[in-house]
């Protein structure tokens, strides 16, 4: 039943365009280089997509409500540093990680409160938080990276279950959960409703303020989860980590067909969007493209991917319901 609706939605073209873009890209690379289509490399790509992929989950929810969160990159750094500092103070791993996640949630909630009670535009509230959280991370760590984490944490990055890297499994689990939450539960529908017509939603007695705050808390949480992955991957928490992640995440979301105006989109599209980004970067490295040309290519592909998506969606919309 769930599967069926997903298929129907895809057929309706919400994800189809993006998916086509991804497939075209893969085929092109498969032809262009022998190194791409190896199981090892594909696992490698999936693993690389996990970092941005995880933040993009929270970003999808935020954008669905018509908002935006520019602070996620800095929050990745902040919660990473919180984890590191706690561990240095000898706090047990599990509690330290929890503290790190809480730091993300707290900062996210603060974003939400500034936006709902303070009536700040999300762009500004989170832009401010971007700068504040970065500064806080630097102050907490004196600007120095914190290294050497217990093996238990490292496992999250290095572990392999049933031949699939642990980060990939974690990412997929989170996407599955979020997809379910957005399409099958009340909060999910509220997010769509708020993004579609906030006033109408408020008029039908829904506590818009609460749910908007919640969505930024979720975004903070996903930033925290991302930072756990990152710390485990680098075996180091850096105050300068995550710079520019917000743009990658937003790109993944929009390439995935979610409208920045809110109200329409899907987290599955976001997953595909995130994959497009990392497949592209992987391919450009394999082809040994000069790093200047890479920037041109990345920009071009982002544009082309969304162009295809748009074109396809228009076609679908025109055909009679």
């Amino acid at each position: 039943m769930i599967a069926r609706t997903t298929l129907r939605r895809m057929a309706r073209g919400r994800e189809a365009g993006t998916l086509l873009g991804l497939v075209l890209l893969c085929v092109a690379l498969w032809i262009a280089t022998p190194f791409f289509a190896t199981t090892e490399n594909l696992a490698n790509v999936a693993e690389q997509s996990a970092i941005v992929g995880v933040i993009a989950i929270g970003m999808t929810c935020v954008i669905l409500t018509g908002g935006i969160d520019l602070s996620v990159g800095s929050l990745v750094a902040l919660s990473g540093i919180v984890i590191g500092v706690s561990l240095q103070r000898g706090i047990p791993l599990v509690i330290s990680v929890t503290l790190g996640l809480l730091a993300g949630v707290a900062a996210g909630t603060l974003n939400g409160i500034m936006i709902t009670l303070g009536k700040l535009p999300p762009f500004i509230a989170t832009l401010g938080m971007m700068s504040v959280a970065r500064g806080a991370a630097l102050m907490l760590s004196d600007g120095r990276p914190i290294s050497d984490f217990p093996a238990g944490l490292r496992m999250i990055a290095t572990g392999v279950i049933a031949g699939i890297p642990a980060p990939v499994l974690l990412m997929l689990a989170l996407y599955a959960f979020t997809w379910f939450m957005l399409t099958r539960t009340v909060p999910g529908r509220y997010f769509y409703a708020i993004g579609g017509n906030e006033e109408a939603t408020a008029l039908s007695g829904i506590d818009v303020r609460f749910w908007k705050t919640a969505v930024y808390a979720i975004s903070g949480l996903s930033a925290g989860l991302c930072s756990v992955l990152l710390v485990a991957r680098l075996n180091s928490a850096q105050p300068v980590a995550g710079i520019g992640y917000e743009l990658d995440a937003i790109a993944a979301v929009v390439i995935g067909g979610t409208s920045l105006l809110g109200g329409t989109g899907s987290v599955i599209g976001t997953l595909i969007g995130a994959l497009i980004m990392s497949v592209l970067r992987n391919g450009l490295n394999l082809l040994g493209v000069s790093s200047y040309l890479q920037q041109v290519a990345i920009g071009a592909v982002i544009i082309i991917a969304v162009l295809i998506d748009m074109a396809l969606r228009r076609r679908v919309q025109r055909s009679p319901r």
């Binding site: 490399n41 970092i51 990055a157 990392s278 394999l286």
Partner: protein
């Protein structure tokens, strides 16, 4: 086996911190020249941002998939990059560290090895710059410092060295130390503002030439070119020119071209199965 899949020419990868920075462009040039003369195919890759170690790790992982023969690496994070080095070792790709060391403790802990280190010590350079100013100002002066990106290791090392050098001369006091993120226009603004707050400044140390060049423009605009001696780092062409025109006092030369050249030669020796020295220091010098 590797040589067949990698095509006729053996491929060597040089991964630097970023290619938006003159220093690494020069390193690339030195490496390319050497590669051409040795008939080696050289892949040069870098993340867009100098502090982005995660992206650099991805590049390394991807080049391992590309099955390059040797990996020449300028790590964006000397500890953070270790897992990637280990992966390269696992794929039996020798790794050579260039310019920035890979943290020895972390590396051995993770069971990784580096075939060789080629480069010079940034902290030494900082010390050299400090010593130069102490001598030039005869041990007394008000110093302004342009820091790099907050939390950025290279710049911090240079700063540490500079501070230790000044520590030996009580008359030298740092009256202002502000970050300008290694950027020229920020350096201009920050310097302008520092001159407002501390009219008495007699010398300025910038953690790289990009910032130093921004600073001398600001100082000139304030009409204090004569009064303030500026020392930079990296010995970029523009900096050398500025020193020649006496708009700037000195800079520290690390000779990236040489590092690139030696790196490629080292790679070549490794491919030939010849032994290489584990430490290959590159001379560091003061340009004034």
């Amino acid at each position: 086996n590797r040589s067949t899949t990698a095509g006729a020419k053996p491929t060597v990868a040089l991964v630097v911190k970023t290619l938006n920075n003159q220093f690494f462009i020069d390193m690339e040039a030195g490496a390319k020249a050497a590669a051409d003369s040795l008939g080696i195919e050289l892949l040069v890759q870098a993340p867009e941002r100098e502090i982005d170690v995660e992206r650099q790790m991805q590049i390394v992982e991807n080049l391992i998939q590309r099955k390059v023969s040797v990996l020449l690496l300028v790590p964006n994070g000397s500890r953070e990059i270790v897992p990637a080095v280990v992966k390269a070792n696992a794929a039996r790709i020798p790794v050579v560290a260039v310019d920035t060391r890979i943290d020895a403790a972390a590396l051995t802990a993770a069971g990784g090895v580096v075939a060789s280190f080629i480069g010079s010590d940034n902290e030494d350079g900082g010390r050299m710059a400090g010593a130069f100013l102490v001598e030039r100002l005869a041990g007394t002066g008000k110093i302004a410092v342009l820091e790099g990106v907050p939390g950025h290791e290279t710049a911090d090392a240079r700063l540490r060295g500079f501070r230790t050098a000044l520590g030996r001369a009580p008359g030298m006091q740092i009256v202002a130390s502000q970050p300008a993120n290694m950027e020229r226009d920020q350096a201009f603004n920050v310097t302008q503002n520092m001159l407002q707050a501390n009219p008495g400044i007699t010398a300025l140390f910038a953690c790289n030439d990009v910032m130093a060049l921004g600073a001398i423009e600001a100082i000139a605009a304030a009409g204090k070119a004569k009064a303030i001696s500026v020392v930079g780092f990296d010995a970029q062409d523009d900096a050398r020119k500025a020193i020649a025109e006496q708009r700037m006092s000195a800079t520290i030369a690390q000779n990236p071209r040489e590092m690139g050249r030696i790196a490629v030669i080292t790679a070549h020796r490794l491919m030939q199965g010849q032994a290489v020295a584990s430490e290959q220091p590159v001379a560091i010098s003061l340009v004034k």
